[in-house]
């Protein structure tokens, strides 16, 4: 079963603008991760944030985590055409067994 949902389901923005995607989940977590998927195949790991962290940066990516609201956001700054993809959040619940529970994904389209 899916852990949570991404919001919005689809997002189209102009190249150079910032893109924000949100993720909500249902149960307590050990960590939350964001993945990118191109063309419905292999997933690429983007960033991981632990449950005791509130914000994390990696290049043009900024992730926030609010465990009280069971939500996370992914911000991509200065978007590029190559950022067009589906983005998924995934939660890891148990220390020592990191099976991931994925959300439903946000389809991001960057318009050149």
């Amino acid at each position: 079963s899916q852990q949570g949902e991404e919001d919005p389901q689809a997002l189209s923005i102009q190249e150079g603008e910032n893109a924000t995607m949100n993720c909500s989940y249902k149960t307590s977590i050990n960590n939350l991760q964001w993945y990118r998927q191109n063309s419905g195949r292999g997933l690429v790991h983007l960033i991981l944030i632990r449950s005791n962290e509130r914000e994390k940066h990696s290049g043009r990516l900024r992730v926030t985590l609010d465990t009280s609201k069971k939500s996370s956001s992914l911000l991509i700054t200065a978007s590029r055409a190559a950022d067009t993809a589906s983005y998924f959040c995934a939660t890891g619940r148990i220390f020592g067994n990191e099976k991931l529970t994925f959300g439903t994904g946000t389809r991001l389209t960057i318009i050149p």
């Binding site: 993945y35 419905g40 292999g42 995934a90 067994n97 099976k99 991931l100 994925f102 439903t104 994904g105």
Partner: protein
């Protein structure tokens, strides 16, 4: 190898047939995961191996699904008496297994179509 590989990349079969999907993890990775992704959905966990043993098979939908990893490296996902509802992309991932928050590296997936 350089990354996780999966074979075949596409598999078309008829309802009721048996299929095997193969995953070659990154060399040295002790943890291996299988996920299934239906169209328009996120991946769903199937089974997790630590070494040769299945540490968690709670995601396998029923007893038609079985996976093995006999030597702690390559894994095979086996589906008996396939049904049309089994059509999906089957994704394999591996991680070093050294820490609880190891990054999982995903393969390109096998797209299974059951006619």
């Amino acid at each position: 190898g350089a990354g996780v590989s999966q074979t075949p990349s596409n598999k078309v079969t008829e309802k009721g047939k048996y299929v095997e999907l193969r995953c070659d993890p990154i060399s040295g990775h002790t943890a291996l995961y299988w996920y299934r992704q239906s169209l328009g959905q996120g991946p769903e966990f199937l089974i997790y191996f630590q070494g040769t043993g299945a540490a968690d098979d709670s995601g396998l939908p029923n007893d038609r699904f079985f996976a093995v990893r006999p030597e702690g490296s390559v894994s095979t996902l086996k589906i008996q008496r396939t049904e049309r509802g089994d059509s999906a992309v089957y994704l394999c991932a591996s991680s070093s297994g050294q820490r609880s928050t190891d990054t999982q590296y995903f393969g390109p997936g096998t797209r299974l179509t059951v006619l």
